[in-house]
């Protein structure tokens, strides 16, 4: 293919700067700018599993549980997202979202998009309402 002026110039620039891309991992050490997650457990008691297990496994637990609940109607309380929210919702804001929310602050820090609460309520059911 015949190289015209613009193409050749672009090629030169790309060749000159690509080594800089190798330096990108340095940014990982710039994490001091990102606020550490806020873990305020307002309500006393144990979580359903230990902390290390929860941190590692909660996405898979939730995904497995959702299939059981939605497709098979299994509504045990142990791994229910509703129960997570009712325990972990902040007593100040009433929600697991927000800058210091239990779910959101960790997800912001880890830069992992959290999709659950576009559909699921981020606040527990009001006590006044009848809870089945």
């Amino acid at each position: 293919m015949k190289r015209n002026g613009i193409g050749a110039l672009a090629g030169h620039i790309a060749r000159a700067i690509w080594p800089l891309a190798l330096l990108l991992p340095i940014l990982a050490f710039a994490s001091g700018r990102v606020p550490k997650p806020v873990i305020d457990i307002d309500k006393p008691g144990k979580c359903v599993e230990d902390t290390a297990t929860m941190r590692r496994e909660h996405p898979d637990m939730l995904r497995h549980q959702r299939d059981l609940t939605v497709h098979e109607g299994i509504r045990t309380r142990q791994h229910s997202l509703k129960e997570c929210v009712s325990c972990h919702a902040s007593t100040k804001t009433g929600s697991v979202l927000g800058e210091k929310g239990f779910c959101q602050s960790c997800h912001d820090y880890a830069s992992v998009k959290i999709d659950c609460f576009s559909c699921h309520a981020s606040k527990p059911k009001p006590v006044a309402g009848a809870k089945p």
Binding site: M1, N4, I6, D115
Partner: protein, 398 residues
């Protein structure tokens, strides 16, 4: 077997070519902006609602997808049915087919209300669903046409062209039949619910796909300043004429069948007489501009490039009109829950549903068309797909 033609990349490039790409970038950019706008704010910013759930993006997308299957006809004629006159342009036919499909699928995927789940759409298939099959049909079509194109160009694989072409042909038939039955098997809507949609869409796809292919072929020849051979022009004119004729036949048969059967006479009256914009688009757009006028141009004794070009443009316009009537008209007419009763509700039962296309929807649809054109332009420059000689001479160079 005749020796395969020699292929090369698009010639006559330079500043002109970059200007073309810059031009094609405009609909692409506008389409991208439209997509992000709709994705961010939700479909509330479009003209769609709970009554018209598929709007302008689908009109464009289904047109592109239907044309994609038909655009392969020229290549199939060459490699399956032995019409060696088309052999030089078979790779171009395959390319146009793939590009049309890519443009159409792009619009379909980007119009999803949860387009962030595109990967789910491609990977998670409902085993119970006849229509989840469509994803396999799309993928298989792209793969089989891709393989066929490769065999066309790779001299060592030339002897496997025919089996590859037969596979692509079967897949093409499956895909277009499935597209038609998407509407045909929809028993809930009066405008659909007819198995005739399958052959009708086969005819439509042949007409629209051939029209797009011929326009692109003429454009390429114009760009390279080389004439289209008289023989090829004559054959393409005849082929397009047959396809347009078939489309008219099935459209008339479909409308007649709807009118004739008492259970569907009301919806036939809606389409033919009472439908306002849909009636106008049906008669003027689909039948007159998309059918009668092109036939008049094509049936003339002398095949002229101008007449064929005009006919192709009219067929495409008629095709867009037909898609609007099918898609939007089919949704504007309400679902009938209680035949024979007048229905009304807070959910707009029993009334014709209004629809106004919004700018983002149209831009998204045009972006898909732009993507098709861009793929063709870039591929022709990057790959050797165009024949050295267009005329089918007798002898080894055919």
């Amino acid at each position: 077997m005749a020796e395969s033609p020699i292929y090369r990349e698009l010639g006559g490039t330079g500043r002109r070519y970059w200007k073309l790409l810059a031009l094609l970038a405009v609909p692409l950019a506008l389409g991208a902006v439209a997509y992000f706008y709709i994705e961010h704010y939700g479909h509330i910013v479009t003209g769609m609602d709970n009554q018209i759930v598929w709007g302008m993006p689908h009109v464009f997308a289904v047109f592109l997808v239907v044309a994609a299957t038909g655009a392969l006809n020229i290549a199939i004629a060459a490699s399956v049915f032995g019409k060696t006159a088309y052999r030089p342009v078979a790779p171009l036919s395959a390319l146009v087919s793939l590009a049309l499909l890519a443009g159409g699928l792009a619009v379909l995927m980007l119009d999803l209300a949860r387009s962030d789940r595109m990967i789910v759409a491609i990977t998670r298939l409902n085993s119970q669903s006849l229509f989840a099959l469509r994803v396999i049909l799309y993928d298989g079509f792209m793969a089989s046409v891709g393989i066929y194109l490769w065999f066309l160009l790779e001299r060592r694989m030339n002897r496997y062209i025919k089996p590859a072409a037969i596979l692509a042909f079967l897949w093409q038939l499956l895909l277009i039949t499935g597209t038609g039955l998407e509407f045909g098997f929809n028993v809930g809507r009066e405008v659909y619910d007819s198995v005739l949609y399958a052959p009708m869409f086969i005819a439509f796809s042949s007409a629209y796909g051939t029209a797009v292919f011929v326009l692109i072929l003429f454009a390429v020849c114009g760009w390279e300043e080389r004439p289209v051979s008289g023989e090829l022009l004559r054959r393409l004119r005849n082929l397009l004429g047959i396809f347009v004729g078939a489309s008219l036949f099935f459209a008339v048969l479909f409308l007649y069948s709807k009118y004739e059967l008492a259970r569907s006479r009301e919806v036939a009256r809606f389409l033919l007489f009472d439908g306002g914009v849909y009636t106008a688009l049906l008669w003027l757009g689909q039948l007159a501009i998309g059918g009668i006028a092109p036939l008049a141009l094509l049936l003339r004794a002398q095949a002229s490039r101008a007449a064929v070009t005009a006919a192709c443009v009219l067929v495409i316009l008629g095709g867009l009109a037909q898609m609007y009537v099918t898609l939007i008209g089919g949704q504007a007419y309400p679902q009938i829950l209680f035949p024979g009763m007048i229905e009304s509700s807070s959910f707009f039962d029993g009334e014709i549903h209004p629809y106004t296309p919004s700018v983002p929807e149209v831009l998204l649809g045009l972006g898909g068309a732009g993507l098709t054109a861009a793929i063709v332009a870039v591929a022709l420059r990057a790959l050797a797909l165009l024949p050295e000689r267009l005329d089918p001479t007798a002898g080894p160079q055919a």
